[in-house]
């Protein structure tokens, strides 16, 4: 169980995230999503190929 912070409301707010860190964070997020989408795309193309070969095309 955590104790109440005696300095809550007195302690200054954390400094804003530096610009370079924000850029890196967004790049990481987008790279992760792009990797997931590319992975899903590869699986989809694989499945489409199997279905079309099964149809005799």
């Amino acid at each position: 169980m955590s104790r109440p912070d005696p300095l809550e409301g007195v302690r200054p707010a954390p400094p804003p995230e530096p610009f370079a860190d924000q850029v890196r964070r967004r790049q990481r997020q987008r790279a992760l999503i792009m990797a997931l989408l590319l992975g899903a795309f590869v699986i989809l193309v694989y499945a489409i190929s199997l279905v079309r070969m099964g149809m005799g095309e």
């Binding site: 924000q22 850029v23 967004r26 790049q27 989809l44 489409i48 199997l50 279905v51 149809m55």
Partner: protein, 303 residues
């Protein structure tokens, strides 16, 4: 000389949530649903993987068209309360990113559709994207109050594409579904534009209520509801659907007509007195979902 400097937000890489917002996910849900229904009522059973891919391509194509629409209309969106918080007018993304995203997604969706299903479906998908972006967004929207009458065709393509993806051709039933959405669009949008008229006026968009006033718009809503109801019911007497769809379409269209007559009877010019218009707008969305749902139920339960 004016120097334009990028704000901190636009200097950052776009957040993925803003890229997603460019695709207008809420509008996409109706597009996906009508496309899925077009695919499901086709007389040919498409393989689930290909069916899924076709619907995915239609969703991506709709998202691409929406992104290109937001890219072109960023200046208009900034003037309207309803759209001012979108990624571009809010300054969270630069326009070039939206353009690249929209063009890339357009090509991707059309090519994948062609490879996975057939090139007729891919061609109709390409036409629908081009129609929405070039004919509606660039050409008509800022020039004529008939913008959504003609531009409404862009939103009417999905069931046609779904059908074409399954069968490889186009038949009477998907053409009637196209006509239904085409004729549904004006009453749907004019009901909305009546109570957000000041937004459109501020942005200089010549929507019918801005140019011709509420009275003429209300009359046009009723006049378009009549052929819309005829297009909705037509598949039944033509023998393309069964009685389940026919009765549902007739009942739902009758309610639509009653609500549009209540709009015609309303004399309010301020949004706070436009309850009938808000009801018709909300009902019009439910109407399209339900009528397409009835179509699929008719095909699958009675066949």
């Amino acid at each position: 000389m004016t120097t334009v400097t990028a704000s901190t937000d636009t200097a950052l890489p776009a957040d993925w949530r803003d890229l997603l917002a460019l695709t207008k996910p809420r509008v996409m849900s109706l597009v996906v649903f009508t496309a899925l229904c077009g695919l499901l009522v086709a007389p040919v059973n498409i393989h689930p993987v290909l069916g899924f891919t076709a619907i995915l391509c239609i969703a991506l194509g709709a998202g691409a068209a929406a992104a290109l629409n937001m890219w072109y209309e960023a200046d208009l969106d900034a003037f309207m309360k309803r759209t001012a918080s979108r990624p571009l007018p809010a300054g969270r993304m630069d326009r070039q990113t939206a353009l690249h995203f929209g063009v890339g997604l357009s090509f991707f969706s059309v090519i994948l559709m062609g490879v996975a299903t057939n090139w007729l479906a891919a061609a109709i998908l390409a036409v629908s994207i081009l129609f929405y972006v070039i004919v509606y967004t660039v050409w008509l929207k800022r020039r004529t109050p008939q913008n959504i009458v003609i531009g409404g065709a862009a939103g009417a393509f999905p069931p046609l594409i779904g059908w074409a993806a399954a069968t490889g051709d186009v038949a009477t039933l998907p053409i009637l579904l196209f006509a239904l959405i085409f004729l549904w669009t004006p009453p749907h949008f004019w009901a909305l534009s009546l109570f957000v008229r000041s937004d459109y006026a501020a942005a200089g968009v010549p929507m019918l209520p801005v140019v011709a006033g509420p009275k003429a718009t209300r009359l046009q809503i009723v006049l378009y509801t009549l052929p819309m109801a005829a297009a909705a019911v037509a598949p039944w007497p033509l023998g393309l659907t069964g009685p389940l769809y026919g009765v549902a379409a007739a009942a739902l269209s009758l309610v639509f007509l009653v609500l549009s007559l209540r709009v015609l009877a309303n004399k309010a010019t301020e949004p706070k007195g436009m309850k009938p218009e808000k009801q018709l707008f909300a009902y019009s969305i439910l109407y399209l979902f339900t009528i397409f749902g009835a179509l699929v139920a008719d095909r699958w339960l009675l066949s």
